[in-house]
Every structure is written in C-alpha cells, then in structure tokens.
Symmetry: C2
Subunit: 127 residues, 2 copies
Amino acid sequence: MPAKNTIKVLIGGKIITLSGYESEAYLQRVATYINHKLTQLSDIPGYNRQPVDIKNTLLSLNLADDYFKAKHQAEIFEEESQSKDKELYDLKHDLIHVQIELEKLTQERADLKAKVAQLEAELANLR
Amino acid sequence: MPAKNTIKVLIGGKIITLSGYESEAYLQRVATYINHKLTQLSDIPGYNRQPVDIKNTLLSLNLADDYFKAKHQAEIFEEESQSKDKELYDLKHDLIHVQIELEKLTQERADLKAKVAQLEAELANLR
C-alpha cells in the first residue's frame, strides 16, 4: 500500500492541505487544472461580478463538462478497440484458413513432382 | 447550428438557469452528476461542519479527480486502439503475403498436372 501523502496546494488563491494516497505530482496536476479553469472563467465578461455561489456552480459545471467529454472520448476509444478486436479475430481466422490451404497445396506439389519424376523415368526406360 | 437551450436545473438545492448549445438531456445529466457528488461528500463524516469554501474546494477536487481518471482511461483505450492498428496492419500484410504464395502454388499445381497428363499421353503412345 503506498504511503499517504499530505501536501499543500494553492487553489483559487487559497492554501489547501490535501491528504491522500495519490502522488504529490498528481495532486499538484489536479490543483493546476482547477486553477486553469478558474482563470478561464474569470476571463468571461461579467463572471467576476457574480455572487460566490454562482461562481462556484459555474466552476463545478465546467469541471463536470470536462469529465463528461473525457468519459465520452473514453467510450469512443473503447468501442474502436472492441471493433478492432473483432477485425483481428476475423483476420486471424482467414490467415489460418489460407495457411492450411497453403500446406495442402505444398503437399500436392510435392506429390505431383514425384509423379512427374516417376513418369519421366518410365519414359526414359521405354525409349 | 443547433438552437440555444435555456433550462433550469437544481444543483445543490439551488435553481440554476443554464444556457447553451448542449441538449437539455445533457445539461440534466451534468446537474444530476454534480448532485450525486454532493450527496457522496455529505456522507463523509465532518464534511457538513466545514466552511462553505472548503466544501466547494472539496467538490472541485472530486470533480477534477473524476475528470483525470476518465482522461486516463481514454488514453489507455486510445493506446490499445493504436496498438491494434499496428497488429491489424501486420496481419493484413501477412495475409497478402500468404495469398500471393497460394496463387503461385495454384499455378504450379496446374502446370504440374498438365505435365503429368502430357507424360502419361506420351507413355500411352509408346506402349
């Protein structure tokens, strides 16, 4: 079990003490991302005049929107991956089929070559 | 361009008017998700005694954590999908190679059969 980390991060200008099993680097990334969102929001005209609860709700909506978009992206890639599994399965099946056919033909060629050699020997004896 | 929707949703017990090009169903899903997170947080012992800004930060951290996890999941599926592309490319290449070999052998078999028929005819003439 990894060690529990306690680190201080700056979110929205306030020092927050975070404690968890996530790495310090991860917790810093999360804080940086939230601060980036806060900066983006404060660039929207009128945002800074909003009451604090509205500002907080706007931040939550923004973060939740990012989550849903990332989740949707994950679903798309997962479906792609599954459809490629199907394609891989079919191709492996085709390849095995063609390889069996190839072995059969290789054997037939060897048999026919032996037959040709035998017939040529018989002809040589008769001439 | 889709029509701009204005809908009212309930987030954390407050009525919020949202306006955007996202569908009403999507905006409701986002609100439901945030409310679910708020319920989860309020189940944590001590959460309800925290000042409102700490509560808000905890919610933001929670949402951001979900976002990073979904993003990570998307990256894993994307890598899987790309590695399957490589595998598909290699298999298609192998299949083409084997099919060419198969065509060559099919032609060789036809030639050898013709040769056998010809030698058998010659033998029949000599006997």
